[in-house]
């Protein structure tokens, strides 16, 4: 069988039989109705999309801070212990009143 000739013949067959351009009844109405339905649900969709984006951003930020806290070597030294400093500051007035007594 001559494959090149068969290919030529079949492609000619495809060219000779173009597909129809018939459009289903009221297709344009269906598209317009779909667009209207889409527009109605859009505010909710926007809100949901916004929430998801915010959740993803928060997760990324939390991961970055977590990684920073985990890998930062100065975090474990007592010299700059943030929690201790914070406690000292917070209870400074109590300490002062104790000393005064």
């Amino acid at each position: 069988m001559n494959i090149a000739e068969l290919q030529k013949k079949l492609l000619a067959a495809a060219r000779a039989n173009p597909p129809g351009d018939r459009v289903p009844y009221a297709f344009e109405k269906r598209v317009t109705a779909l667009l209207a339905a889409r527009a109605a649900t859009e505010p909710l969709a926007l809100w949901v999309r916004g929430l998801w984006r915010a959740a993803v951003s928060c997760a990324v930020i939390a991961l970055l801070f977590g990684a920073w806290a985990f890998f930062n070597p100065t975090a474990s030294t007592n010299a700059d212990d943030l929690s201790q400093n914070f406690e000292n500051t917070l209870l400074a007035s109590v300490d002062q009143s104790d000393q005064a007594q």
Partner: protein, 191 residues
């Protein structure tokens, strides 16, 4: 006086969605004819056409009006059809054992007397459809645009978003892929 295409597009962009309807009505025949080249079932054709129009509405802001709306829409249609082909590759591995009698007769006639095997025959049309379904999405798109719709390489590049050299490479590969499938079919039939 009937509003022009530019008036309708401007109205849609201002928020008047109803002005989109005449555009859908005017250009749907072309969209459907294109979709029927890539999908066999009518439900699939309708899904493609619907997808094209929903995308067209969403992306209408990107239509700058430098080229006719129809060209812009056809680009969108071809790309949607390509996406459809990529998503529906289930028929590609079907066997040639299920050729119908008219298809077998047409092939027999082609082998014995090639000049009498008419390209206008229904069997030839069905057979070419069967071959095209077995092509990869890229090959099918290129063969359809280049060989069947008789478009130039430059036009195909514009429609698909591929570069001109890429279209040429893909056309070469697509013809080879088609010949391979035809050879496989011939082998299946005569061995």
């Amino acid at each position: 006086m009937e509003p022009t295409e530019a008036d309708l597009i401007a109205a849609v962009l201002r928020g008047d969605a109803a002005s989109f309807e005449p555009l859908v009505q005017r250009y749907s025949p072309r969209v459907f004819a294109t979709a029927r080249r890539y999908a066999r079932r009518e439900s699939e054709v309708e899904d493609i056409a619907q997808e094209v129009w929903l995308k067209a509405f969403e992306k209408l802001k990107s239509f700058r009006g430098e080229a006719p709306f129809e060209h812009w829409l056809m680009r969108l249609t071809v790309r949607t059809c390509y996406d459809f082909l990529r998503g529906h590759q289930r028929n590609r591995e079907s066997s040639f054992s299920d050729l119908t009698d008219p298809e077998n007769d047409w092939l027999e006639r082609f082998v014995t007397q090639p000049e009498t095997a008419s390209e206008n025959a229904e069997a030839a049309r069905l057979l070419v459809g069967r071959i095209l379904e077995r092509l990869s999405p890229q090959a099918r798109l290129v063969i359809t645009l280049l060989e069947i719709e008789d478009r130039s390489v430059k036009e195909i590049a514009q429609l698909t978003g591929w570069s001109v050299p890429l279209v040429k490479v893909r056309a070469f590969r697509a013809r080879a892929e088609m010949r391979k499938i035809l050879a496989k079919m011939a082998m299946h039939k005569y061995l």
